[in-house]
Amino acid sequence: MSDPTVLPAIAVGAAFAAGMGAALGWAATRLRPDEDRLPEAINALLPQTQCGQCRYPGCRPYAEAIARGEADIDQCPPGGEATVHALADLLGRKAKPVDPQYGPVSQRVVAVIDEERCIGCALCLPACPVDAIIGAPRFMHTVIGSHCTGCGLCVPPCPVDCIELR
């Protein structure tokens, strides 16, 4: 500590470190990644079938689970490879095939009501998450093909099994 020239160097170094520390501290609080936007961005990439095959009650809850790090990106069979790729690209992760335990990846299907067998019970109407079934009690029901996402949620409530995914 005999050389007096080392003191300004230490002072400058300390000031620099303190400055950087303060800047980082400020950045950590003020420039925090916007956590509300991430689930939104993930949700925008999901197929919106609301089918629940991912074990979450809809696309938005699954998106939130991915954002929290609870769920993986390979749990969406209706989205298939394209959705996994899009999610991997968004989140900077590696793409992988859809985990078969969540269901098989299939072609796009739509629900079709066998109108001969429909008894007009109206049980499938509230089950449809996108209001793609038209009908009323004791009237035949039908599916609007262009609105149907093929989630299959209308199949279990039907008492006469007249709904088929094609």
């Binding site: 949700n43 925008a44 999901l46 197929p47 919106q48 079938t49 609301q50 809809g58 696309c59 490879e81 394209a82 790729h85 899009a86 690209d89 509230p126 449809c128 998450p129 996108v130 209001d131 793609a132 609105h147 996402t149």
Partner: protein, 488 residues
């Protein structure tokens, strides 16, 4: 005069046009049975006639359903036989077609009359051009009226007539420019009125001196100093819209915009001739000039043929087949699409029928790995990096392909042509573009489903709230206020 613009990269290709240009442009015989595809290159139109209906030449038979299809008119006089699936030139290979048996009389629809041009304002002209079913005859088949209306909205300054016809084998525009220069100039002037352009440039490649001469002669006879004819160097793909506008005006169309947004409008010379033919007689777009060529054709020529004429009949009219045909291509050798059969009818989008024999088809050899030589990047007229784009496309990451400009590929085929590893880049890009479009449609569908789901959720919440209130109300009544009522 030399055009002021800059020239994008391009290729000097063997033109193969001389044989077909030995004959004058002539009319092909009207077909005994016309097959008119509802998809004339821009999506399906809705038929407005049914089996058994009597139609005249020029009777409207299909109207645009949605998107950018155009009105279709009957090319013959006769009876509609059926509306059925037939082989077509569409990528799917077949599609719905209106089949009309001609009675051979060629009687015109009595409603067709020459328009009183002087009394029509720009908007009326556009509506009438739309009604006449005139589309871009360079191959894109985009309704001319729609294009002119957009150009009018954006107050376009400069109309560029595309007479470059850069693709090998195709010479239908060359034939038109040589023989109907007056028509092209008339059509150009009408289009200038409709879109409000103050000047027009007709751009022709310099390997068509007769066409340039004919246009200049017609132009000086007309004495209209707003019209100008310029010669471009024959450099493929000088006739693609972007490179052409760059060469003629020096302005580059931004990748996310279209020519009217920078004050330009580009139309094909064939389209101008179709506008002129409508202006002279009121006749809608029921025929087009098509080049029938290739080593597999006896006497290649340019024919003015009715839409709906079977390609086999057009080949027969040009001396029939010669040698062993190997491939039938709709369009030129660079961007054309191969057809599986000649039992396909002429559409408004078809500018050339190329019957190729082994002589025309250079064996391409095995595809080999990319050696990253970069030749494709220097050949690409759209300024892309095809090698990087290929890598992005094959890895299946559509977002990355998008960043490398997949949407800006003009599918000209230059990269294929120069690739020493013989990689079919263009077809890969074309497939990837179709995939990207399908993906975008999926996204749109998902977005619509999300909106409906959110509405559904809101409705459920509202219903639950209404039920709760009704329940509260009923309980309140049952407890006190309703005590006065007696139960039945």
């Amino acid at each position: 005069m030399a055009p002021p613009g800059r020239f994008a990269d391009g290729l000097r290709l063997e033109s193969h046009k001389a044989r077909a240009m030995r004959h004058r442009l002539r009319a092909a015989a009207a077909p005994a049975c016309a097959v008119i595809a509802l998809d004339q290159g821009r999506g399906d139109a809705d038929p407005v006639v049914g089996p058994g209906d009597r139609v005249f030449v020029g009777t409207p038979i299909a109207r645009p359903a949605s998107g950018v299809a155009a009105t279709i008119h009957s090319p013959v006089c006769g009876i509609v036989r059926e509306i059925a699936q037939r082989e077509t030139a569409a990528p799917a290979g077949s599609g719905p077609c209106i089949v009309i048996d001609s009675d051979g009389s060629d009687a015109r629809d009595p409603r067709i009359a020459a328009p009183a041009l002087e009394s029509l304002g720009p908007e009326d002209l556009i509506a009438r051009i739309l009604e006449a079913g005139i589309v871009g005859l360079g191959g894109a088949a985009y309704p001319t009226g729609v294009k002119l209306a957009t150009a009018r909205e954006r107050s376009v300054e400069h109309l560029v007539l595309n007479g470059a016809e850069c693709e090998p084998w195709i010479c239908c525009d060359d034939a038109l420019m040589r023989e109907r220069a007056d028509d092209i100039l008339l059509g150009t002037r009408i289009m200038m009125v409709t879109c409000g352009a103050r000047r027009a440039t007709i751009a022709v490649e310099d390997d068509k001196p007769e066409a340039i001469e004919a246009l200049r002669r017609a132009s000086s006879a007309l004495g209209d100093d707003r019209l100008e004819v310029v010669a471009l160097p024959a450099l493929y793909p000088a006739g693609a819209e972007g490179p052409l506008l760059l060469a003629v005006t020096g302005l580059e169309v931004p990748h996310d915009a279209f020519p009217p947004s920078i004050g330009l409008l580009c139309q094909n010379v064939g389209t101008a001739a179709a506008v002129a033919s409508w202006a002279r007689s009121g006749e809608p777009c029921i025929s087009r000039v098509v080049t029938v060529t290739g080593s597999g054709v006896g006497e290649p020529a340019n024919l003015e043929a009715r839409i709906g004429t079977p390609l086999a009949a057009l080949v027969a009219e040009c001396g029939g087949h010669r040698g062993e045909p190997r491939r039938l291509i709709a369009g030129g050798s660079m961007t054309g699409t191969a057809l599986a059969t000649d039992d396909v009818a002429l559409t408004k989008a078809m500018n050339c029928i190329l019957v190729a024999t082994a002589l025309d088809l250079v064996p391409r050899g095995e595809e080999m790995p990319c050696i990253r030589c970069g030749d494709c990047a220097s050949a690409c007229p759209a300024g892309l990096l095809p090698q990087q784009l290929l890598r992005a496309v094959t890895s299946g990451v559509t977002a990355e392909a998008g960043r490398y400009g997949l949407a800006d590929c003009i599918e000209c085929g230059c990269c294929d042509y120069v690739c020493p590893s013989r990689i079919p880049l263009t077809s890969r890009f074309r497939a990837a573009r179709a995939e990207a479009r399908a993906l975008a449609a999926d996204r749109q569908r998902a977005e619509a489903a999300r909106r409906r789901f959110e509405q559904h959720q809101r409705r459920l919440a509202m219903q639950a709230e209404a039920e709760r209130q009704a329940f509260e109300e009923a309980r309140r009544l049952a407890r006190g206020d309703g005590a006065g009522r007696s139960d039945p």
